[in-house]
Amino acid sequence: MRLSDLPQNLAATVTAVEALGPADPIARRLRDLGFVQGEPIRVVAQGPVRRDPLLVQIGYTRFALRKTEAARVQVNPGPGSA
């Protein structure tokens, strides 16, 4: 499922980051920031309006992502293997 659809506080694992188009700087940046396969991930908070943006905990870091950005990240609910 997409990170943008992941319920709050449900532990999940990143499976992939999908690029929108051939050169998608946002997808590249997400990968640089550690959104890579096997990384444990969790949505810890949601913005007050239309639950956007999302606050995502990945590794030891928290990132705010707009939903369009989070939709690029594919996740698997459940604790990861890595």
Partner: protein, 613 residues
């Protein structure tokens, strides 16, 4: 002393405490400027190591990756690659990483190692890491990376001792050997962490607890509202006595120093040109210092990105970003600190939009003009039994400003050719107690930037306006006001046909010219035009009844509409010029604001005439 200083660059992720380390190393021996052709700040400092080695330290902008996504990161990449046109590659790179966040920061460290330049790694905030029970096997990490690794604590006065000892220990560390690294840097980081770091919990519990409240949809917004109210209140009212004090003080100083001179041109130039200009510059300082004190505390404590998180959705709809909120709010006090505060918006496109709409926020200098006109033309009548009509009009003026800022931002979003998605992708760092030394250094920087870069322009313009309003002097026997005979008066008369369609007489046109120095000056200029003497409230009361007789209601409403939009403030244009480094942006801002002002006044004037007033 050895020939040339060793050029050292501090490189690292945003939020790694790099600037605090830079402050610790260089103290007040810092030079802050901009990189040529960019609005990115260049910070350099000097230092002598215990062994007597002279270092020239460059604090490079924070970067997550050399795959640059912002102007800041481009500068960092170009300098590290040795491709910057004016900045040579550093002799030594000190890579700074947050010891509590190695999973993110080590990846960039590996990327920097690939440059094959002499470097060492500083594990910053090592005290916080120890407190959280994070154990790092320093010798192990050093062996696996093949570069010297030291621990630093930027907030302790001897927190960089190890770093300096390491720099003194050898001429330059050996080049890093990156052959063992695979393509997948994330995999390398995982392997390094598994072998050298023991980490009990993922994040600090305290952060989780604070975030649960601060980011709560209801409680979080309430806390934000209180924080913003306090800040706004402080900028608006605490600054006022200081501003009045500066105003009176500089005027007094000007009088005292020029009293010895005979009445004449030189005295007038010094008193009404130079000292008035000096006062005009210094008067902004209290607001700038108070506002930046709050912004720096919010930024350093980690709250600012949280506020941006809460507001992003609302601002994004209008083509802005959550981070634009504080600069825009500050612009209600004054657009000058507001525009300077846009430096906390990393994305260049978002920053530009924010700068362009900031002058639409109703700044405090418009208030004297509003109060004068409202008192003179709007009757004291109650609306719906509870509201005062004068208050309703004042509210409408403020509201028009906000609504048009959102509308203009939306139009900019539609018009711009670059339709690409700009990410929020913002790190929310751990909460920290702001460090006094870092606050003081940053505050001093802001003040110097304002005085050095904007002050000169404001001073020059004030002297120019003084010249236009004072020359040529009227001949003996001239019956009108002296300003009427001056260049400013002539320009006012020349402009009159242009402003006739929006109902401005020549008196208003003349007052608009000195009003360019600061909006509120228009009030005293009107007083001069109507040949009145006096100061402050007395003048305003007298002037109010005079203009009520001379002007139609339509003209007064038209002038109110004009002041909502018109870039009647050269200082704002000067600060836009400095903050964007572009005359084009200044022309665009002035052009669209004048067009809006003229359009709004035209519609207001003719609607009012048509309604029969």
């Amino acid at each position: 002393m050895s020939a040339a200083a060793l050029r050292v660059a501090l490189v690292g992720n945003p939020n790694c405490g790099k600037t605090a380390l830079f402050n610790l190393l260089t103290g007040s021996r810092q030079k802050v400027a901009n990189y040529a052709g960019a609005t990115v700040e260049r910070k350099e400092g000097r230092l002598l190591t215990p062994a007597g080695r002279s270092l020239q330290i460059l604090d490079l902008p924070g970067a997550y990756s050399f795959d640059a996504a912002s102007p800041d990161e481009v500068i960092t990449r170009d300098i590290c690659y040795g491709e910057h046109p004016e900045e040579p590659a550093p002799d030594l790179i000190v890579c700074v990483a947050d010891a509590t966040n190695l999973r993110l920061h080590l990846r960039f460290v590996l990327e920097v190692m690939r440059l094959q330049r002499p470097m060492l790694l500083a594990l910053n905030m090592s005290d916080a890491a120890k407190k959280r029970g994070i154990h790092i096997d320093l010798p192990g990490l050093q062996r696996r990376l093949g570069i010297p690794v030291v621990e630093t604590v930027a907030v302790h006065h001897n927190g960089a001792t190890e770093l300096l000892r390491q720099i003194d220990a050898q001429h330059l560390p050996p080049l890093p050997d990156t052959h063992a690294f695979g393509e997948d840097l994330h995999a390398e980081v995982r392997a390094l962490l598994a072998a050298t770091v023991q980490m009990p919990t993922r994040t600090a519990r305290i952060d989780d607890a604070i975030d649960r409240v601060v980011l709560h949809p209801v409680a979080g917004l309430a806390i934000l509202a209180v924080a913003m109210f306090l800040m706004f209140q402080a900028v608006f009212s605490w600054a006022q006595p200081l501003m009045d004090g500066i105003d009176v003080g500089v005027k007094w100083l000007g009088d005292v120093l020029t009293n010895a001179l005979p009445e004449g041109v030189l005295r007038s130039l010094l008193r009404d040109g130079l000292f008035a200009g000096l006062g005009g510059v210094l008067v902004f300082l209290p607001q700038i210092l108070i506002l930046f004190f709050f912004i720096l505390v919010l930024e350093e404590s980690g709250y600012l990105p949280r506020a941006a998180f809460l507001l992003d959705r609302l601002m994004f709809k209008a083509g802005l970003t959550g981070r634009a909120f504080i600069p825009l709010l500050s612009s209600f006090a004054c657009a000058i600190p507001g525009i300077m505060a846009t430096r906390s918006i990393q994305d260049a496109r978002d920053r530009l939009t924010t700068i362009l709409v900031a002058p639409l926020m109703t700044c405090s200098a418009r208030l004297p003009v509003y109060t004068l006109l409202i008192a003179a033309f709007i009757p004291q009548r109650s609306v719906l039994g509870i509201f005062n009509l004068q208050g309703v009009v004042l509210f409408a003026l403020y509201f028009t400003g906000i609504a048009s800022a959102l509308a203009v931002a939306t139009v900019i979003k539609r018009l711009r050719s670059d339709r690409s998605e700009h990410a929020l992708l913002m790190e929310l760092p751990s909460y920290r107690v702001p460090h006094l030394r870092d606050l003081a250094i940053s505050l001093k920087e802001r003040a110097m930037i304002f005085l050095k870069r904007v002050g000169g322009i404001i001073l020059a313009l004030t002297v120019l306006l003084w010249f236009l309003s004072s020359f040529p002097a009227p001949p003996a026997g001239f019956s009108g006001a002296a300003i009427d005979y001056s260049f400013a008066g002539r320009i006012g008369h020349l402009l009159q046909p242009l402003f006739a369609p929006i109902g401005f007489g020549w008196e208003i046109c003349i007052a608009l010219i000195p009003g360019l120095a600061a909006r509120e000056v228009a009030v005293s200029a009107l007083g001069t035009v109507y040949a009145m003497s006096g100061d402050g409230d007395a003048l305003a009361a007298q002037l109010g009844s005079t203009i009520a007789q001379h002007w139609s209601l339509a003209t007064a409403l038209s002038l109110l509409a004009w002041y909502v939009f018109a870039p009647q403030c050269l200082s704002t244009l000067a600060v836009i010029r400095r903050e964007t480094n572009s005359m084009k942006v200044v022309l665009i801002a002035a052009g669209y604001l004048f067009a809006l002002a003229y359009g709004a006044s035209f519609i207001t004037y003719h609607t009012a005439l048509w309604l029969g007033s």
